[in-house]
């Protein structure tokens, strides 16, 4: 066991399958605390299932998911308190205001000072002026900010984002990139699924590519990002041929 209770994520032999459908196939993956990991792959390669498995939304058929060394299966609620999730859907009630949505989630997370938590998250994401408007009336980019604020309410040690750039215009995407960079501190672990290789080169420090439920590529992103992009596109082309 590690000396420090590091808030890392550890997947061992994680398989999610049902008969012929194999979403994840014996995935072994260590994501140490402080990682900023991008997960890529074609549609149906298992990206979303991977995130759902870490978030406790999907239960693996075989293998183990450990967070901070604790088995997810055994301590779901306690571990979920450490995680923030942003899905490609907002998880927000369109008829409630942004503030009402956030306060609800603060209560759901059992936060001691829900109002303060909402104010803090609102300021951090620059949505204070729109807090009292119904989510239905907000633009896609603003909704995404509210969704991020929701995921950050409890200041999670682990942040999982599923295709967060989908549907954002360039300005919103740029500020999301900035925000992710700011959130990627040595204490926090970030896992983000992407389908645009250019986004993976702007921020994340490690890239994992899934293909048919298996890890096809696992590489640090430091220098020579063009070479990595080339390898990734090569993998995609190869897959398209099959």
């Amino acid at each position: 066991m590690d000396a420090a209770p590091a808030l890392g994520i550890s997947l061992r032999g994680v398989t999610k399958a049902f008969g012929a459908q194999v979403a994840l196939d014996h995935v072994d993956l260590e994501i140490p605390q402080g990682s900023f990991l991008a997960v890529m792959g074609a549609n149906g390669a298992g990206k979303t299932t991977l995130l759902k498995t870490i978030a406790g939304l999907a239960v693996p058929t075989a293998g183990s998911v450990r967070i901070a060394g604790v088995e997810m299966r055994e301590a779901g609620p306690r571990l979920r308190a450490l995680i923030g999730v942003v899905s490609h859907e907002t998880m927000l009630y369109a008829d409630l205001t942004a503030a009402e949505n956030l306060r609800f989630h603060a209560r759901l997370f059992g936060l001691r000072h829900p109002r303060e938590a909402v104010e803090r998250a609102g300021e951090r994401l620059g949505i204070t002026p729109v807090l009292d408007r119904p989510v239905r009336a907000l633009s896609r980019g603003t909704r995404q900010r509210v969704a991020l604020a929701r995921a950050l309410l409890h200041d999670p040690a682990i942040l999982l984002l599923d295709e967060p750039f989908t549907g954002l215009d360039e300005a919103a995407a740029a500020s999301l990139t900035e925000l992710l960079e700011e959130l990627a501190t040595p204490e926090r672990t970030l896992v983000v699924t992407l389908h645009d290789v250019v986004r993976a080169m702007a921020g994340p420090r490690r890239l994992v590519v899934l293909s048919a439920g298996r890890i096809a590529l696992d590489t640090p992103i430091d220098t020579g990002s063009e070479a990595i992009a080339e390898t990734y596109l090569g993998l995609l082309r190869e897959e398209a041929r099959r």
Binding site: L57, T90, M91, Y93, L96, F104, L108
Partner: protein
Amino acid sequence: MSWLGPALAIAGKDLRLETKTRDVVASVGLFVLLVVVTASFAFPTAGAGREGVAAGVLWMAFLFAALLGMGRSMAIEKEDACLEGLLVSPAPREAVFLGKLLTNLGFTFAVEVVILPLFIVLLQLRPGGGLGLLVLDALLGTLGLVTVGTLFAAMAVNTRGREAILPLLVMPVSVPVMVAAVKVAEAGFAGGMGEGTLSWLLLMVGYDALFLLVALATFHHVTEE
């Protein structure tokens, strides 16, 4: 108690949503009112033995209220993946179930509280001392319908048929609780406890308790992937 806080938060959120949209109570209430009025024309609700007919009509109306309300309240969670938002929180799955159960009970009771007196007046029933029994009947019967219904609604919204298949799932298994509830309502309309009424009440208590346990034990299977 780690179940109560999140469950109350969920029910409170649904109440807040309802005060804004008035989606459920208005549409369901009106529908159930129409059922009651139409049934009053369609069935012999005057003369001898009308308590039995009235009890049947009343519980068909309550069943519709519960089914529509539950379908709607779960459909809200399905939009924008809100249910996933509940499931990624530290709230235990059981608390999420209880929260939705509270919401569905609340909505159905809200409709029943309006319909029951109206029904008694429209059909010129004279429950007298049976009123307390009718209230108890509504509580126990609705709890049974809504317990099974909340579990099945979480399944139904994830099918191709969406909420539309909820009645197909709920109605067959809720027959015993419907029979019991109708029998007790008949006694209630006739003025109070009759022969066998206690057995029917106990049957409802047993049904409610059994399926509450089953639902708590299996809810995570229908929400997790």
